[in-house]
């Protein structure tokens, strides 16, 4: 109670003081709705370079790391063991650690040094070394390094596709429009967990109505997520979380080994997968052990590497409002993206969750990844209004589509999206909505009415959608989960009812599971079902004239915004 009383006294005080109109106006600005905190290093509420972070070191004996970051092998926790034994290139470790961190940071920025010349050293570094190297760099230098270090030359983008009503027709229609707008991947999640199979089905079907080749996932509990993939209702997975301290792992009844086992479950069934981590999760759970967010994140990145997984989404992710509440936090999440590329993993670089009320701050946070380019600049751009975003809102949503398109055009930068015509959006939304209607009917699920198809075709968000009988839907969703229906049954239904192109696209996605080409690092699939990855589209950036350069065709797409006037016709 004493705190509250002090607060009341302060309020009484401020009433007596005459206030500046300017400061009063400033207090009302959106940025001051955000939560900010001072650093608290003892609990790890610090972005980079905590006084409690270890100094980098490594000792190798007979091919084994016997000492790492100031700890003897017998004192290792299970994360240390896992990283030392599986994630670090032991042969090069002592050489990499011997290089001065400032000098190494300079090599990362130097355009005369190619990615392939330093990747064998960056993959030989300990967690503390990776953190110490990025600590030397300012934001612009990290952007330069990110441009060079990302695995795939061509940047890409990923979207969220959810509904606060878990409305399957809305999800199918939004997925179709998202695919048409250029997203390489889209992901759904649920308001009510048991809706997962419906959301996964609606999203995959919808996406393939917009553009063949778009990858989809359904972010739910890990075992359920794997089962959805095995049923052919998704084509990748992302929500396998790893953490930087042993105690957070233990809270989830997990270890790095159990995560590796799960990862192999996806790989063996031909499903692309990446892990999830990101600054702030350990602080969020009260178990950061006083270490900085970037140091703990470098441990997450190396656990991911050690599991043999091709990529990672990080950059704050669902805890972004924690790093962004402390000084240098946005620089810190850029640093963790950079570390991920240094370890030769695909990076889906965040920008996926709300962290600020301020539009200026929202843009500033996204700028480094957008301008430098990453494998997936957003790991979740909300493809519908934020009120429907069941990842609790994204940094950008469907109302920002035109802003984003114009920024791509202004800066001639490829953010992975393109302007589309209204009639094209309506057409693909309608196809997706009609297709899910047929699939529900043929599988005996609760009816989808023509009114719902119409609402989803022309709608903006779930406010435009009629309510469904959720209890009946959930019962049918449970039957889908427990029954034998797979993606192949959906293909058959679509083919039998005149949705030939859509059926073929859905079938092609199932075929990818057998060829497995899209399990390579940073793989995405284009409209002709060609796989583009860090293997066949290697990033060779070395300054002007090298690396990713927009094709004329792509530039025409980006230039063609809806509201530009034609000077010749004026």
């Amino acid at each position: 109670m004493s705190e509250r009383e002090e607060g009341e006294v302060e309020n009484a005080d401020t009433k007596q003081h005459k206030r500046s109109n300017r400061f009063k106006s400033l207090d009302e600005k959106p940025v001051n709705q955000d939560g900010f905190a001072k650093e608290w290093p003892e609990e790890g509420l610090i972005a980079m370079d905590s006084p409690n972070d270890p100094d980098p070191s490594v000792t190798v004996k007979e091919g084994e790391i016997v000492e790492m970051d100031g700890k003897q092998r017998e004192d290792f926790d299970f994360i240390d063991f896992f990283i030392a034994d599986y994630a670090i290139n032991v042969e090069k470790a002592e050489e990499a650690l011997a290089i001065d961190s400032v000098e190494f940071a300079q090599r990362l920025v130097d355009i005369n040094i190619a990615r392939e010349d330093i990747i064998e050293l960056t993959t030989a570094m300990t967690p503390a070394k990776l953190a110490e190297v990025v600590n030397q760099m300012n934001t612009l230098e990290m952007m330069m390094a990110l441009q060079k270090m990302r695995a795939r030359k061509t940047p890409g983008n990923q979207g969220h596709c959810t509904s606060v009503k878990d409305h399957p027709v809305q999800i199918a229609a939004d997925a179709a429009e998202a695919a048409l707008r250029g997203f390489d991947e889209i992901e759904t999640t649920v308001g009510v967990a048991r809706y997962a199979p419906f959301n996964a089905l609606a999203q995959q079907l919808g996406s393939q109505a917009g553009r063949g080749g778009v990858l989809t996932q359904c972010a739910v509990e890990e075992a359920t997520e794997l089962e959805l993939g095995m049923k052919g209702l998704t084509t990748y997975a992302e929500t396998v979380s790893v953490y930087g301290t042993e105690s957070v792992f233990k809270d989830g009844d997990d270890t790095p080994w159990s995560k590796a086992f799960l990862a192999s479950g996806y790989a063996s069934r031909g499903l692309k997968m990446r892990f999830t981590s990101g600054s702030g999760s350990e602080v969020n759970m009260g178990q950061a052990e006083g270490k900085s967010m970037v140091y703990l994140e470098s441990r997450c990145v190396l656990v991911t590497k050690g599991c043999g997984v091709q990529g990672l989404q990080n950059g704050g992710i669902s805890c972004i409002a924690i790093p962004s509440a402390v000084p240098s936090g946005i620089r810190g999440v850029l640093a963790e993206n950079l570390i991920t590329t240094m370890v030769d993993l695909e990076v889906a670089s965040g920008n996926d969750q709300t962290f600020s009320h301020s539009h200026k701050r929202q843009m500033a946070r996204t700028f480094p990844q957008l301008v430098a380019g990453t494998d997936l600049i957003f790991s979740g751009y909300s493809t519908m209004p934020n009120y429907d975003d069941m990842f609790a809102g994204s940094n950008f949503d469907s109302y920002d589509y035109d802003d984003y398109n114009v920024v791509q055009r202004d800066l001639k930068v490829d953010g992975g999206l393109k302007p589309i015509a209204e009639e094209d959006a309506i057409a693909v939304r309608n196809t997706a909505a009609r297709a899910i209607q047929v699939v529900f009917r043929e599988l005996g699920f609760p009816q989808i009415t023509d009114e719902e198809v119409e609402a989803a075709t022309y709608g903006d968000g779930s406010d435009d959608m009629p309510d469904r009988d959720q209890a009946a839907d959930l019962k049918a969703a449970e039957e889908l989960m427990e029954g034998d229906i797979t993606g192949l049954d959906i293909v058959e239904i679509l083919a039998d009812h005149g949705f030939d192109d859509l059926a073929e696209n859905m079938l092609n996605m199932l075929k990818q599971r057998i060829s497995g080409d899209y399990l390579h690092t940073s793989a995405v699939i284009d409209g002709e079902f060609n796989v583009t990855s860090g293997v066949n589209d290697r990033n060779d950036y070395q300054g002007p004239g090298t690396g990713y350069r927009m094709s004329e065709e792509r530039w025409e797409e980006i230039k063609d915004i809806r509201h530009a006037f034609d000077p010749e016709e004026v």
């Binding site: 709705q33 509990e221 809270d251 609790a392 959720q470």
Partner: protein
């Protein structure tokens, strides 16, 4: 041992009744609360007194003709775990889990900790009515019914405003964890 906590001119007294055992009555729903609930923390992240949170949840369960049992977990503050383990102690196999900052879920004994029947992850959006509805729905699951889920709320700006504060509240709650302690049966007295 009992503790008394001042809550907006009302007293919530949580009286410890010994180690919580697995219940045998199918008409009970366990309310599983976290280590600092009503102890060092007395209101949710949006200042709803925890006394009210408890009263509403219990009232929701009672409206459906069922009984509530209150259990405190001291060895974990993790919502999925305390909800799932609360459900294991519940005669009906259903529990409501609530953290001190107000985050809540409805859990069932045969689910995995990270799965659940209904999750309310955005504590700033939970008001007294929601807690009553959560209690009511938990009781319906306990009776074998298949209720429509409590309407999910989504405020995309809850995170920017509250996440850092939520982390600090959770860190402080975690300081009350004692891994050697068994879950404790409680009786709530509202004065």
């Amino acid at each position: 041992m009992s503790t008394k906590t001042e809550i907006s001119r009302r007293k919530l007294q949580l009286e410890e009744k010994g180690i919580a055992e697995k219940g045998s009555e199918s008409d009970e729903v366990v309310i599983a609360i976290s280590p600092a609930f009503g102890e060092t923390q007395t209101s949710t992240i949006v200042d709803i007194p925890l006394a009210n949170v408890l009263r509403e949840t219990m009232a929701g369960i009672e409206e459906e003709g069922l009984k509530s049992r209150l259990v405190r977990f001291i060895d974990t503050a993790d919502l999925g775990n305390l909800g799932n383990r609360g459900a294991e102690l519940s005669g009906s196999g259903i529990s409501v889990g609530i953290q001190s900052k107000g985050t809540a879920l409805i859990h069932q004994a045969d689910l995995l900790p990270l799965s659940n029947l209904e999750l309310f992850p955005q504590a700033p959006l939970l008001d007294r009515e929601k807690f009553r509805a959560i209690g009511k729905n938990a009781a319906k699951y306990a009776k074998g019914e298949n209720p429509s889920p409590v309407t999910v709320e989504n405020d995309p700006m809850a995170r920017p405003k509250y996440q850092a504060l939520a982390a600090v509240l959770h860190i402080k709650e975690s300081k009350s964890i004692d891994e050697s302690r068994e879950p404790v049966e409680l009786e709530a007295h509202f004065e």
